[in-house]
Amino acid sequence: MIQRVLLFAENRYARLVLVGLMVLSLQTTVFNDMRPFGVCLQVMVLLAASAGLARGSDVGAIAGFIIGLLYDLVLTTPMGLCAAVFAIVGYLAGVGQSLVYEPTWWTRMLLGSTASAIGMILLPIASTVTGATGILNVRVLFVALIVGLFNAVLSIPAERLCRWALTEPAAVR
């Protein structure tokens, strides 16, 4: 039984869920109160982008999906909406990383920021597709800009966190 629990804990996606829960609790508490320029900062989308930056597009898409699903569980948006959007964000971040020759810290920041901003634009578009009205307006661009700028600052530690969480079990040992 303990062996099974250890095996489960060694799974990188299980670790990602635990990390995701921690970040989600930060998202719903401290980042929910801190609203610079009236915009709620989105660290969950940063986590999805960072997963793509850390481990490539495939792992980024799956990790983004899991992170988005966790976020969907506390939001009132349709379940699976954030999961789909965050999967795209993780995938795009991974693809962007693969296109950069010898990535540096600032290219990672730029990619994390851009992927987050794209996520913030895709989210209201996806909401509108599922029937929500009145949320696709000019403010979306402003929200994307603020979220992108803030996530650029946090993208390096977030990427390290994701790199650790998504390490293969053998490497962890």
Partner: protein, 374 residues
């Protein structure tokens, strides 16, 4: 490489399909999704509470840095407001009680007759695109989807999700919110002047830009109700101000029963009664950065022009989301439209949605939100 590409394609397809299935299930109201959300809430709540305790100093420091000046200003403003409101509150309470007694005596529904449940706001939505808050009462208190939520100032929203010990409240500003409302037009200021002794007795008609002035033998009265004369059983001949774009007709050419013109029909108005006129419309939220609006207000000449500051209250009715006469706010801006389209009214809400604490949920479930048994 081909194998890797195939795996990648398969993974993306699987993720897409899963998302579509989940969205479809949720939009169709699947109980599995509700159960998953509820269970996750039970697991996640302790983690969130612990994080809240740990991160409170960070939040307080941030709020201290960014909102200190605002809080000081708000404190000064509220002190002035409290001083101003104390006197008028007592008379307002008396008036409300009298109105409720009157409604009860006539067998009409009142807010006092609806049971309620008090709750505290424990969190707001972390999303930038939905305006919801979470309260610490749920189905254990008898809450159901659709019930209206108020605070001391007025209506704040309706319940959209109910769990055992918590509920989600959609705020009035959410783009998905809509409610039937009444606009109560404020009567124009009434002035009464006594004619000086020796003034010749006769009917002299005076025309003003917005009001009707009729000189009676001894008293001149100005009312805000076009064509109505307080205290008279038969309205005397009077002239109304021309509406924008209307051709003015000489007084001598005016016949009886002309819309907006002189009237000689028998209309009885009790003396001194300034009856506020009401018009219905639909209140719609427009997101966090924009004020809600009222649409579908008919452009009726009898109702007259809506004035800034006119109160907005819930209309009630069989299919309305809320019982009648709940204060919502006041008109802050009027956008006139051409033709038969009525004006669009921007509404300043009575309740401050940015600073919600204790709220009251009326245990009134509108018929439109009741679950019909299969």
């Amino acid at each position: 490489m081909a194998d890797l590409s195939f795996t990648r394609r398969r993974a993306i397809l699987l993720l897409s399909l899963t998302s579509v299935i989940l969205i479809t299930m949720d939009l169709r109201g699947s109980s599995v999704i509700n159960f998953a959300r509820s269970t996750f809430g039970v697991v996640f709540r302790p983690i969130e509470s612990a994080t809240k305790v740990v991160t409170r100093p960070i939040g307080n420091a941030w709020n201290g840095m960014t909102h200190y000046n605002d809080v000081v200003k708000e404190n000064h403003r509220l002190n002035d407001l409290v001083a101003f409101s104390e006197g008028s509150t007592i008379s307002a309470i008396a008036s409300v009680r009298e109105a409720q007694e009157l409604l009860s005596l006539n067998g009409l529904p009142t807010l006092a007759g609806i049971a309620s449940c008090t709750a505290q706001v424990v969190g707001q939505s972390p999303s930038n695109f939905t305006q919801t808050v979470e309260i610490n009462r749920g189905s254990e208190c008898g809450l159901k989807v659709g019930m209206p939520v108020l605070n001391a100032a007025g209506m704040i929203g309706k319940i959209t999700d109910v769990y055992n010990k918590r509920s989600v409240v959609m705020l009035l500003t959410d783009p998905g919110y809509s409610l039937a409302v009444k606009v109560v037009n404020i009567p124009a200021p009434t002035t009464t002047t006594t004619a000086a002794p020796g003034t010749p007795v006769g009917d002299i008609t005076t025309t003003t830009s917005t009001t009707t002035t009729t000189t009676l033998p001894r008293v001149t009265t100005t009312t805000g109700i076009p064509g109505f004369v307080p205290g008279a059983t038969i309205a005397t001949s009077s002239t109304l101000a021309p509406l924008p774009g209307e051709v003015t007709v000489p007084v001598g050419d005016v016949g009886p029963n002309q819309p907006g013109k002189s009237t000689s029909s028998e209309i009885t108005v009790p003396p001194g009664l300034d009856v506020p006129l009401r018009e219905t419309g639909a209140l719609e939220g427009r997101g966090i950065s924009r004020t809600p609006i009222v649409r579908f207000v008919e452009n009726q000449p009898r109702f007259g022009a809506v004035r800034i500051g006119s109160p907005i209250i819930s209309a009630g009715g069989a299919t309305s989301l809320a019982p009648p006469d709940i204060v919502i706010g006041s008109v802050s801006r009027i956008v006139n439209r051409t033709g038969t389209l009525g004006p669009i009214l921007e509404v300043t809400l009575a309740a401050n949605l940015k600073n919600l604490n204790f709220v009251r949920i009326l245990l009134y479930q509108p018929s439109s939100e009741r679950v019909v048994a299969p």
